[in-house]
């Protein structure tokens, strides 16, 4: 049943492309940051599915765990850095 997992990987990649639109064209800075968070969370699923398809779970699970930590810490740190600053323009 690898065909289902490959189709799911393509679908997740399509969702990543559509959220990249919000990251590139967002009218405010906050839209760009939320698009960055969306791409980050979808990357977690994409890495796990690639590891499952290629039968290298032992490597890809560790990569996914560290990517999860770094992605969320980066998102919260960027939000706290821009908090309270007048950033109406993009």
């Amino acid at each position: 049943m690898h065909e289902f997992l490959i189709a799911l990987t393509v679908g997740i990649a399509l969702a990543m492309l559509l959220s990249l639109y919000r990251l590139l064209k967002g009218p405010t800075l906050w839209d760009r940051l939320s698009g960055l968070g969306l791409v980050g969370t979808k990357t977690i699923v994409l890495l796990l599915l690639i590891g499952r398809i290629t039968n290298r779970e032992d490597i890809f699970v560790d990569i996914t765990l560290s990517y999860t930590l770094i992605s969320f810490i980066g998102s919260v740190a960027l939000a706290r850095y821009f908090e309270g600053k007048e950033t109406q323009r993009s």
Partner: protein, 105 residues
């Protein structure tokens, strides 16, 4: 057992696509954050749970469950931090309110 995993993967993909449609179509930042935060948390958690069930009971499956716990902790925190930072920076909500931030106490 794998039928349950494929059902969870399909349901998670449905939630992820719903969040993506919301973030493309909704009118301003707060409504987009509303669409993004919840659907992305539950969708990605369901997808990772499906992969964990496919993996079976092993050390890798335990690590994948740890990823689910961390997503449940960190994704609402990141969404809340984004919304609070935008509100404190004076980003006005969408609507016909006469002054921005008129609900500030």
């Amino acid at each position: 057992m794998s039928v349950v995993a494929y059902a969870l993967l399909s349901l998670g993909f449905f939630f992820v696509m719903t969040g993506v449609i919301g973030i493309l179509r909704l009118p301003d930042f707060y409504t987009r954050l509303h669409a993004m935060g919840k659907t992305d948390t539950i969708g990605v958690a369901l997808l990772v749970l499906g992969v964990a069930i496919l993996e079976g009971p092993s050390l890798n499956g335990l690590k994948i469950l740890l990823i689910i716990v961390f997503i449940g902790l960190a994704s609402p925190t990141a969404t809340h931090a984004l919304g609070r930072a935008a509100h404190r920076s004076g980003l006005a909500p969408w609507g016909n309110s006469p002054t921005p931030n008129d609900d500030e106490t």
